[in-house]
């Protein structure tokens, strides 16, 4: 792997950048792998990366039906934080944030991690109570988190309307300073390059259309490029989890819904934190290129259409202007949607399935980008050892039978 560095950039510039090698290859699929990962999103690529890096398992293929990073990884608002209420979640997301902190270096690919701080606003007494509960728990779990007064928030976000009489008065908020954003594409591409360099086959335009299951055990997959066998298969397809489960012969407690986001035209820097307001469904940050990146609420019907309904956007922008009246004359440049995999308790499912050697990792819903490296880390471990990683164990599928749900609904209406 040619190292990426300023020096190398300069060297290559003297050849007109005509000598850069491929960041990842485009091999033909082999007939047989130790592990097949279905889904070339951030989570799938991270799984492959850690299988190779941590477990030395390199006879691995990542099968992606389209282009890597083209699912939710490529269409999310890129908010990173680890301030989750329940211990199980906090541990998992904190592992992920820690991995993010070293990821550019680990991958030798600048993922443009920007830890500018994430603020969650509280507009009612009820939300203040939630903030207090959450921040207290998070701090006691050893994760940085603070409660802010309206004055402190105003200082950090001067354009925020904290004046009296606002329809959404700001009573306070929570801040995680280590939270922030990262460049979504770079995360996928950097992971792909790192995995590829360790021998993982990244195979794009290869859709999995079925599983070869014999006596309750998976032996390979059917794809649009033909059958491929594997000793173990890990499925990480986010919104399509239900479809793949159906192919494997079982049902999941998951429904797929469109979640929308939009960007404004690019502007000079004016907004230096990540701000979220759960009740009114406003999530925004300014990207390094200058656009405001904004997330909206979720459409409540099932859909695989990667687009949502206008009322969701109208509602979000109304609330946004109530909070930031000066933004009224900005313009929406592009809006889009992703298909999120929603679990009843808003927590992911990681681990074994009714089929032996078939593992699923899904249900990250509206908030899994922040989990990308952590999810890959524990999933790789789970696949390699055949037993759930300790941090993944609480997120097993049978919690829906036992009732041991990890209900993060209380923590945030939509968990970006």
């Amino acid at each position: 792997m040619t190292r990426y560095s300023a020096l190398n950039l300069w060297r290559h510039s003297r050849q007109g950048h005509t000598q850069w090698p491929e960041a990842w290859g485009s091999p033909e699929p082999k007939s047989d792998y130790d592990v097949i990962i279905v889904g070339g999103g951030g989570h799938g690529l991270a799984t492959a990366h850690y299988l190779a890096k941590n477990h030395g398992i390199t006879n691995v293929a990542v099968l992606e039906k389209g282009w890597i990073g083209g699912g939710n990884t490529g269409r999310n608002t890129t908010i990173l934080r680890s301030n989750y209420l329940w211990d199980e979640s906090a541990a998992l997301y904190e592992l992920s944030l820690k991995l993010y902190e070293g990821l550019s270096k680990d991958l030798n690919y600048n993922i443009m991690l920007s830890q500018r701080g994430v603020i969650n606003l509280a507009h009612t007494e009820h939300e203040m109570r939630e903030v207090s509960r959450r921040v207290n728990a998070i701090r006691l779990n050893g994760i940085d988190s603070e409660i802010l007064t309206p004055e402190q928030i105003k200082e950090m976000v001067p354009i925020l309307n904290t004046g009296p009489g606002g329809r959404y008065p700001v009573l306070g908020g929570a801040l995680q300073r280590r939270g922030g954003v990262a460049r979504h594409d770079a995360v996928a591409w950097g992971l792909a390059r790192a995995a590829d360099s360790r021998g993982v086959d990244i195979i794009q335009n290869c859709e999995v259309t079925g599983f070869n299951i014999r006596s309750g055990q998976v032996e390979g997959v059917e794809t649009t490029l033909g059958p491929i066998s594997a000793k173990k298969v890990g499925v990480v397809v986010a919104g399509h989890a239900g479809v793949l489960a159906d192919l494997a012969g079982f049902r999941l407690p998951i429904e797929s819904h469109p979640l929308q986001a939009l960007v404004s035209e690019p502007l000079k820097p004016f907004f230096n934190v990540v701000l979220m307001s759960g009740t009114v469904h406003v999530y925004l940050s300014q990207s390094d290129r200058g656009e405001l990146v904004m997330g909206a609420g979720m459409d409540t019907y099932n859909s695989y259409a990667q687009r949502g309904s206008l009322p969701i956007i109208e509602q979000m922008l109304g609330a946004c202007l109530e909070l930031f009246p000066v933004l009224s004359r900005l313009k929406v440049m592009r809006m889009w949607g992703g298909i999120v995999d929603i679990c009843p308790d808003a927590s992911p499912i990681i681990g074994k399935t009714p089929v032996d050697n078939l593992f699923f990792n899904c249900g990250w819903g509206t908030g899994g980008f922040k989990a990308t490296p952590g999810s890959g880390y524990v999933f790789a471990d789970t696949i390699a050892k055949g037993e759930p990683h300790a941090l993944a164990a609480p997120f097993s599928l049978d919690r829906f039978s036992t009732g041991a749900l990890i209900d993060e609904h209380g923590a945030a209406a939509v968990a970006h």
Partner: protein, 96 residues
């Protein structure tokens, strides 16, 4: 924004409705007869297909009736709607 034909009121904008998920999930008559897994299946597991989906909607801002819709989850095309408790036009045709 979808245009949903309420079987009672006619075609109305999506904003007037709320979806209620997969149609035809019947509450077990004797929940105690189910083991935890079977109960979880009723409670949480859903077909969630990419394609035609039979689902429930309520005309919340209109007649407040629940009804059934057959909608394609990838194109959002709506093929049929019919009142609760009735058979879908499709099934009628097929003599189900």
């Amino acid at each position: 924004m979808l245009l949903i034909p309420c079987p009672w009121c006619g075609a109305r904008a999506e904003k007037e409705f709320k979806p209620g998920g997969e149609a035809g999930i019947v509450r077990p008559l004797d929940p105690d007869a189910l083991d935890d897994a079977a109960w979880a299946d009723y409670l949480f597991n859903r077909a969630n297909p990419k394609g035609w989906h039979r689902e429930r909607w309520i005309h919340a801002l209109g007649c407040r009736r629940w009804f059934n819709v057959e909608r394609h989850t990838a194109t959002h095309e709506i093929r049929a709607t019919w009142p609760m408790g009735e058979t879908s036009p499709d099934d009628v045709e097929r003599g189900k």
